[in-house]
């Protein structure tokens, strides 16, 4: 059974249909052709598919596309301003927090949500914010460096 989904993604109103059993991740990637959010574990355990749903980071792979109806969603594609990267994206590059890069969009969305809540995160805040994201290259120290750098840049702005 197909459902019509009226939603706002990265500030843009979108209306599209999907099967009721479709996940938000499959809706983004396959229906809307937005491939930035990554499909990895597909069970809500690795965080590669993280998007911001009504201000909160969630796993889009275990969220129904139908629940996007009436919601505001931000994906990795919504962060850069034209050619200018978002401070969190730039911080990941500047600190070398990207190895294979597959987990990176999910991490960046978790970190953006964190820094939307506070630009002075404690070590515990950081650990909590990215505890649902897995990096199989295990570049965790650089990721934490990136979060500190992004926080500093956002404080200055």
């Amino acid at each position: 059974m197909s459902v019509t989904i009226n939603t706002k993604i990265n500030g843009q109103s979108i209306s599209a249909s999907a099967d009721a059993s479709t996940s938000l991740l499959d809706f983004l990637r396959d229906t809307l052709e937005m491939k930035g959010s990554k499909l990895c574990c597909n069970t809500g355990e690795c965080g590669a598919c993280t998007v911001i749903y009504n201000g909160k980071p969630i796993n889009s792979c275990v969220t129904m596309a139908a629940d996007a109806n009436g919601a505001e969603i931000i994906t990795i594609e919504g962060l850069a301003d034209g050619d200018k990267l978002h401070p969190v994206q730039q911080a990941f590059i500047d600190t070398g927090a990207v190895q294979c890069g597959y987990c990176t969009p999910g991490y960046i969305m978790s970190v953006k949500a964190l820094l939307d809540r506070t630009t002075k995160p404690t070590a515990a805040d950081i650990e909590e914010a990215v505890s649902g994201n897995i990096c199989r290259c295990t570049g965790y120290n650089k990721i934490v460096d990136a979060i500190h750098l992004a926080a500093q840049k956002l404080q200055v702005r």
């Binding site: 009721a20 796993n59 909590e128």
Partner: protein, 290 residues
């Protein structure tokens, strides 16, 4: 697959009455979406995520009323819950990841009726109750008699959980929730132990103690023999040892990919001892007697 978004509890109940066992209720989706992908797509999916009247957390005299659609993150960030129900707060705090907590609901955790459901052992020791709605009417059901087996509860195929009522524990009581898992975040508990202890007026004996065990039986369970052993006594090293050993016999764990049954019994013993020691110290201000 048929798909419905009922606008009222009555509408949801009549959908359940009509579709019964063919229907699956979905709210947050963190469990059901995985089932849809990897197990079986239900013939009918009833999405209650936006059903009015089932969300929010409110004080209600001597208890906290939790809407089943309240997310685990809402529980974790509720100041009253953290203050009055630290055992439930701790379980919410240790629940999966931030992404999952932002989506998963307490009602889903309960209705899933998984023995390892993080909030269940705490609800048992807090002696919380469920409001269950059926098309024939509504009834209140203590969680002590709510769970019937893995994935099974008194709700059956046609009931809907509409409220969770959690009474505040008596003044002076102290609780803990201890979880044993390999990975800090995300992992499902190998064993979860919830303990709530109330000392007597002189803070010299255990007046009441409730011990809840998760992931070690077909449902979350209490450890009534261990509770009876401890009641009315001061906590000594010998009693602590005896209580741990007895609690392990009250568990009936299985072997699975997360742990062997034998290992689970060892962990029940260790966590029971640890939890009793912690709650005793916090409730009485005393060390465990020799």
């Amino acid at each position: 697959m048929q798909y419905y978004e009922p606008k009222s509890i009555d509408e949801a109940l009549s959908l359940l009455a009509k579709h019964g066992a063919e229907a699956k209720v979905i709210a947050g989706g963190t469990d059901v979406m995985v089932d849809i992908k990897y197990k079986e797509e239900p013939a009918c999916l009833i999405n209650i995520k936006k059903l009015p009247g089932l969300s929010g957390i409110q004080e209600n005299g001597g208890s906290l009323r939790i809407g089943p659609l309240a997310t685990i993150r809402e529980l974790e960030t509720n100041a009253v819950l953290r203050d009055k129900l630290p055992v439930l707060w701790e379980a919410s705090h240790q629940f999966a990841s931030l992404q999952v907590r932002n989506t998963a609901t307490i009602g889903g955790n309960i209705c899933r009726a998984s023995p390892s459901g993080e909030t269940l052992a705490p609800l048992l020791v807090l002696e919380a109750s469920a409001k269950c709605a059926f098309s024939e009417g509504e009834r209140k059901q203590p969680f002590l008699s709510f769970f019937e087996g893995p994935g099974k509860s008194v709700l059956g195929a046609k009931g809907l959980l509409t409220e969770i009522d959690v009474p505040y524990p008596s003044a002076g009581s102290k609780g803990v929730y201890l979880k044993h898992a390999v990975r800090g975040a995300m992992d499902i508990a190998m064993v979860g132990v919830a303990i709530l202890m109330t000392p007597d007026a002189g803070k010299s004996n255990i007046q009441d103690v409730r011990i809840g065990l998760g992931a070690v039986a077909p449902t979350p369970v209490r450890a009534p023999k261990t509770e009876a052993l401890l009641r009315g006594k001061p906590l000594t090293a010998a009693l602590l040892k005896e209580a741990g050993t007895l609690a392990a016999t009250e568990a009936s764990p299985i072997d699975d990919q997360r742990s062997s049954a034998e290992n689970r019994r060892w962990i029940v013993e260790a966590l029971t001892r640890r939890g009793l020691e912690q709650t005793w110290k916090a409730a009485t201000g005393k060390e465990v007697g020799q």
